[in-house]
Symmetry: none
């Protein structure tokens, strides 16, 4: 791939992350092109459908989160994910409305993140900082749910405190 193409591809991805992160399903590919400073056809050259673009954005995001999970503590990572999540959810909504499937590479990347959380959970249970009678499904569901917490950081912090207490042995 040529260097200018690669650069454009990266810029499109970053812009798309922002645009769909704010606008969700209502945002348009055209706006991505405009804000990336390229023609609309350039976007479609790199990502043949809107769903493909959104999928690429999601994968990049999931992979970044996975990398960040390495060596992190369970509660810290939980906290980080929650703070990071709102825009990711909007992107996921847009992906779903664009016909995004649950069997493509985005789902695969999502599964990897889930496994990373699972590993942190196991360590934490081993270390005695998380009660042993909870399993990944409910913990992950709680994580995803808490991620949708809106409002100011103070509220989010106190929500996390309640959840942490609920998870403590």
């Amino acid at each position: 791939m040529r260097s200018d193409g690669q650069a454009n591809r990266d810029r499109i991805l970053s812009v798309a992350e922002d645009v769909f992160g704010r606008g969700g399903p209502a945002a348009s590919t055209e706006e991505v092109a405009r804000r990336a400073g390229v023609g609309i056809a350039t976007v479609f050259r790199h990502f043949p459908t809107k769903a493909a673009l959104l999928e690429a954005v999601l994968i990049r995001r999931f992979d970044r989160l996975c990398a960040r999970a390495e060596g992190a503590g369970f509660y810290d990572f939980f906290r980080f994910l929650v703070a990071d999540a709102p825009t990711k959810i909007a992107i996921g909504d847009a992906f779903e409305e664009a016909g995004g499937g649950l069997d493509g590479p985005a789902a695969e990347a999502s599964r990897r993140l889930r496994q990373a959380v699972g590993a942190l959970l196991a360590e934490a249970q081993e270390a005695g900082t998380v009660r042993r009678d909870v399993a990944l499904p409910e913990v992950y569901a709680l994580l995803v749910a808490t991620s949708r917490t809106g409002g100011d950081a103070g509220v989010r912090d106190r929500v996390l405190t309640i959840v942490s207490d609920g998870l403590a042995p």
Copy 2:
């Protein structure tokens, strides 16, 4: 208002609750009209914009929930709200995408529900079933967040257990 007009209005509201509850922002006003057995113009006569229709649906829903809160126990109502939420969230998403504002009567109804939850919380704290160092903002945020828990009922139950334990004194 003529009685047939009133009947139409009610039927449109019910159908819209179902249609947008399932389809979210992707559902169309025309489908509401079709399934309500009225012309599209009738829908727009009763609700001048799509946002207005969605707002009316949300208000009705919030009011029903408020009524149900009367005399209920905190944890029971919490549990009920969570089980009831998914379709309401879809409607809220549609409302937002249709340009729904946070200053209209829907927000007002939402605030009433929040206050009802506040009342139940105060009672529960009085009765000693909820710890005293949490306040409505974080409890309500947690409620909204938990409402987005997807997946099967078993997972949702275990999530609620964790949250309940976090809220216990």
Copy 3:
């Protein structure tokens, strides 16, 4: 159906017959709308896809031809069909490129016309004006082929003479 809708539908069909008859697959639905004096969405309300519009045009045309076949003589009808054909072919091409299928109502109407030609052929063979060792498939193929004869009327006439002589006993 309301009378204004019916009138628009008819005008759209007539205009489409002309537009696609001239332009073939290259003509656009937007041009039909413009020349019919309606908005583009009106065309799509009456005919949900471009293929559906073209199919309706074809059916109308086939049906008109069938009606004209009643009581006509074989050679006269053959001659008439050939003169009438060029624009119909363009429409058929457009229909095919728009994804038109061979199993819909247009194919059905086409089959009816073919049967009408078959009836005239049988009569003519009975009357001794067409040789008996030819059957409908080759006669119809020849008809369709001859229909694509371009050029001036004189040439077309002389082509028809040759074909007539080939079909004579």
Copy 4:
């Protein structure tokens, strides 16, 4: 011209003949490039527009047919042309839709083929195998028309029989 350029040009022409022969106006220049194993810009370097490419394909085809006419018998060549025609017609349609004119070198090549057919016709009339009261315009029109005969080979054969009988003295 460099030898690799010449080789590319030839390969592009052959591939284009196949691609447009199958796909007609719906085929794209990009597919030609892909299947020829060259970049899209290379195609446009050799042929500045899509119409120019199609024109070159047509000319090559007409010239090949002209060469084949040398020394052939009238009816045999007629039969050969008809069998060969379908893909050529698709290419001609594409040429027309791409804005191909009737005054360029393609028309010139077409005229040469027509003259070759004229020569064969004169010979056949001299030899008494074709009636004397027909002239090139109608014979050529009939040839072009018959070329569009679709369907299976059996039907095409019987069509040719009828036409041959019509042309016999």
